[in-house]
Symmetry: C2
């Protein structure tokens, strides 16, 4: 088995979270609250990581929804609204480029795994429903690492579980903070930039940039998975 491997982030990198915006509309809140809520959820998870503590994505998600829906939804309806939004995770699908890209990577003999700040069950369900679960060697969660990404311990956990050298593990994500943390922990990095965004200069530049998962084949299956393709 080759020693090199690709480690995918899950939420927004593999899954398309846009349908959750409809769930906000359905409970009488603005669909734009999806973005606010998700940023605040990560903010609170990272705050705890900076203190050396961890709460689950699901717990932070529910508390974050209570905060963002305060004064927007009648108080008596908040709890049912919270559950309506959270249950939307179980119905999310993949971005259009993911399934073909994952199959191409697997066909090229690249080891595949995921590492999410969410629970492993969400990733398991997402990949199983897409018929891709057997392409992935492991579906990992930071809940078993004891600390959230982007803290180094989360990436070190994945490195240990997969038995690779850090530089032979290619972290793939849409989120700059995730790739910054992975690079700080010694991993190689590839940014999935589907909509032509500009890299934020406050974070370390990724080794590679792609517009679709399929473009990773030339990077991960090539002779050098490392830092040659820095954009």
């Amino acid at each position: 088995m080759p020693s090199r491997a690709v480690l995918f982030d899950v939420n927004e990198t593999l899954s398309d979270m846009a349908p959750l915006a409809h769930r906000f509309s359905e409970v009488g809140a603005g669909p734009h609250l999806l973005q606010t809520w998700f940023a605040a959820l990560l903010r609170d998870g990272f705050a705890l990581a900076a203190v050396g503590e961890l709460r689950t994505f699901a717990d932070l998600g529910r508390e974050g929804l209570r905060a963002v829906l305060h004064g927007v939804v009648p108080a008596a309806d908040v709890e049912s609204a919270v559950e309506h939004v959270m249950s939307g995770f179980a119905g999310l699908g993949l971005h259009p480029d993911v399934a073909d890209g994952v199959r191409a990577l697997a066909d090229a003999g690249v080891r595949l795994a995921t590492l999410s700040n969410g629970g492993a069950a969400v990733g398991e369900r997402l990949l199983r429903d897409a018929g891709l679960r057997d392409r992935f060697e492991r579906v990992l969660s930071v809940e078993d690492a004891g600390v959230w990404k982007p803290a180094a311990g989360a990436y070190r956990y994945a490195v240990a579980e997969l038995g690779v050298a850090p530089s032979d593990l290619l972290m793939v994500a849409v989120h700059p903070w995730d790739l910054h943390g992975a690079a700080a922990a010694g991993l190689s990095t590839a940014w999935v930039n589907r909509d032509g965004r500009t890299w934020p200069e406050t974070f370390r530049r990724p080794d590679h940039e792609v517009a679709a998962v399929g473009e990773l084949v030339g990077i991960a299956a090539g002779p050098a998975a490392g830092r040659a393709g820095r954009p």
Copy 2:
């Protein structure tokens, strides 16, 4: 001089950031983007804190605005829009309860200081314009601590600068993550809850809860500034 002191957060705790929403409208973006942007700014600052690094609030603010305005404002207008929003910080005022509350605390002989994730100049300007600068012994920024709140190093820096025992320093903030970090670092904590929110159970409960800064007089100037009043 009494050894006990009150340490105020600045953005949203002392200053009212709501007028910045108008700045988003003025550049052709939705006013709701203020909340999304501020959550994402803190998210990125905390991500760096979890990695043990620091960028300034101003740098993260500008990069965060570029991200949040992508696809919302014409690309050619983004930089001027970024500067228009950022310059709004210089015009922010205090929440209505702050000035009288600060004067009452100072009159009671309580030592006052601020500790912001933003630059010290923003806090200096805010307090000077309100005629309150002389009530504050120090206006501190995490930029001199080397790490953002809620990492322990930020609070330890303030403790050292003020020369107090951690438990004799009362951290006052509207943000649960700030009080969680302060408590983890051994400080006493008071939550300013101006609009009847529910404390998020994912964070350690504060020692005190007040609806206005003036209510802190009974806590900070009383015989025991510590953990007696846990709600």
